[in-house]
């Protein structure tokens, strides 16, 4: 396990595997544990969201702010559960749930027009004016049968994204 201060036992790995519904192999969990310990600089058992910003590749990602909101104060189990959406073994439903959570800023189970606008703003930045964004979003919503005032719930997301080929994966290095 290298130079980590606390080692994972076989029991721990299996428990974590259960927790993430076998999204990762045991080797991947061990590898992710090393990564977790590296990010948890002060050895307090959880990662402050600030630590993710010290990864340049993460910090320049347009959605880093939204993700930081979700990532605060993670212990190892939560870290694995978060990343399990990106495993090739996770279900399409799990991935769509994850995307829903990114949009649902106030965690009330409903995604409003403003929520979608926020994410769109993060992604487009200065390349679109606020007016253009609102227009595009309203138009696209109408075409799909919703209005500006409708709230999308998880089942709506499933319907919209469900029959597509969603590729959302991150490979865990296993040495």
């Amino acid at each position: 396990m290298g130079n980590t201060s606390s080692m994972l036992t076989q029991y721990d790995i299996e428990e974590v595997q259960q927790h993430c519904k076998h999204a990762f192999t045991q080797q991947e969990i061990a590898s992710l544990y090393q990564r977790f310990c590296h990010l948890d600089r002060n050895n307090c058992g959880f990662i402050p969201s600030d630590e993710f910003l010290s990864i340049p590749e993460f910090a320049v990602n347009p959605l880093s702010q939204s993700l930081l909101r979700m990532l605060d104060g993670f212990n190892f189990k939560e870290f694995i559960a978060f990343l399990s959406a990106f495993s090739p073994r996770s279900t399409l439903q799990h991935k769509i749930e994850f995307i829903f959570k990114v949009y649902d800023t106030d965690c009330n189970g409903k995604v409003s027009f403003d929520d979608m606008l926020t994410v769109l703003r993060d992604l487009t930045g200065q390349y679109m004016s606020e007016h253009q964004r609102k227009e595009v979003l309203a138009q696209v919503l109408e075409e799909a049968g919703y209005t500006k005032d409708s709230f999308l719930v998880l089942s709506d997301f499933m319907k919209i994204l469900g029959n597509s080929d969603l590729k959302m994966e991150a490979e865990v290095p296993v040495d």
Binding site: G2, N3, L32, R35, H38, F52, L53, S54, I55, P56, E57, F58, A59, V60, N61, P62, L63, S64, L67, L83, A85, F86, K95, F98, I99, V102, Y103, M116, V119, L120, L123, T124, G125, Q126, Y127, M128, R133, V136, L137, V140, L141, E143, A144, Y146, F157, I160, L161, S164, L166, K167, M168, E169, A170, E171, V172, P173
Partner: protein, 364 residues
């Protein structure tokens, strides 16, 4: 199809044939939002490529890999290897280390007893004084290298003293400078350090003509650029050695070169340094250990083995920008030393990327 996500596989190296080097992210596009034809709600809501990139960065990122010191695998794990290892520890700490300290002390005595008189007595005869001081600095560096039993193989033609040339090298540890200095007395540009290293810097290195900088000072860059230019113009000055990475990297990767060395209008002579980790890892992880501890670690190991290649001098090609020139030279050095190139600025070790870099990534 209006979104092209590129999955960042963490085990692959990053694509480097990008013309715009100022970009802080390699590949990967955010969703293009110009409505071309039919934009459907599905396309708008599908943020999976961007999320995949973020998750990839969380799981493993190329920047952290540059500064990881991989500890060697322990080999002393059975009944006959362990006593051998114990004997080795005994030999290294109790026999070899004191011998080395003795050698180093003798070297310092010889050096100081020659340097101080020469420095003060020959004040009037500058040329003679400088050439003697130069040889003395080369000598003390040889003593340093001997104190770690340095096995250094130099390849390529030795640097000649000519005006309008700078030397650039990849950077792994402070000892890079000593390894190169023992062959040729270079003037070097360094970060001013506290403690005894700083004392050495301000007294002895002053005589070979060193330039100081301070990473944390914002205005520093212009001052340093001016000093560099002045130094290179002077015919009498020692050849200038610059480490354009700006920070120590773990000798498996190279981070982006700062363009300061490449816009001086001189010939750039690349030098590649590769350490062999067989006995000790020469990478100085400045966050994990102080330089003193690092030096002690080197002095209590069997040997420091490295190769130094002096490569063919390069000039700015017509139509090439200094940044492209820097990347070209970095490619030459990395190929020679077997290092992988990574498109990150070494200074990100000390600071976070600013929000404007996130803006630049959008829509690219």
């Amino acid at each position: 199809m209006n979104s092209s996500g590129v999955l960042k596989s963490s085990s692959s190296e990053l694509d480097l044939d990008r013309p715009n080097i100022e970009d802080y992210l390699p590949s990967g596009a955010a969703i293009q939002q110009e409505p071309r034809g039919k934009l459907r709600l599905h396309d708008l809501l599908d943020i999976s490529p961007t999320l995949s990139e973020a998750a990839g960065a969380i799981v493993d990122d190329s920047f952290t890999r540059c500064f990881k010191s991989n500890p060697p695998e322990p080999w002393n794990w059975n009944i006959y290897l362990f006593p051998l290892w114990c004997f080795g520890v005994f030999a290294r700490y109790l026999i070899i280390f004191p011998t080395r300290v003795l050698v180093l002390t003798i070297g310092w005595i010889i050096f100081l007893s020659s340097f101080i008189p020469v420095h003060f007595l020959l004040k009037g005869h500058d040329k003679l004084r400088r050439s003697i001081e130069r040889s003395l600095v080369e000598m003390i560096c040889s003593f340093f290298v001997a104190s770690w039993t340095g096995v250094v193989r130099y390849h390529g033609p030795r640097p000649s003293r000519r005006p309008k040339q700078v030397f650039v090298a990849n950077h792994t540890s402070m000892i890079d400078f000593i390894v190169l200095e023992q062959m040729t007395a270079f003037a070097v540009i360094m970060q001013k350090h506290p403690g005894w290293v700083g004392l050495l810097q301000s007294t002895i290195l002053e005589s070979v003509g060193c330039i100081w900088f301070n990473r944390s000072e914002a205005k520093d860059r212009e001052i340093v650029a001016r000093k560099l230019r002045e130094h290179v113009q002077g015919a009498d000055n020692n050849p200038l050695l610059i480490f354009p990475e700006g920070t120590c990297v773990n000798n498996h990767y190279t981070v982006m070169f700062k363009k300061g060395a490449f816009e001086l209008g001189c010939t750039v002579c690349p030098v590649a340094i590769k350490y062999n980790k067989i006995f000790v890892d020469a990478f100085w992880n400045s966050r994990k250990q102080s330089f003193t501890k690092h030096l002690l670690q080197l002095m209590t190991s069997w040997a420091v083995v490295c190769d130094v290649w002096y490569l063919e001098p390069q000039n700015l090609k017509p139509g090439e920008t200094p940044i492209e020139f820097a990347e070209r030279v970095r490619d030459i050095i990395s190929t020679r030393a077997g290092l992988k190139m990574v498109p990150w600025d070494g200074y990100l070790k000390y600071s976070r990327p600013s929000p404007k870099h996130r803006e630049r990534n959008i829509g690219s």
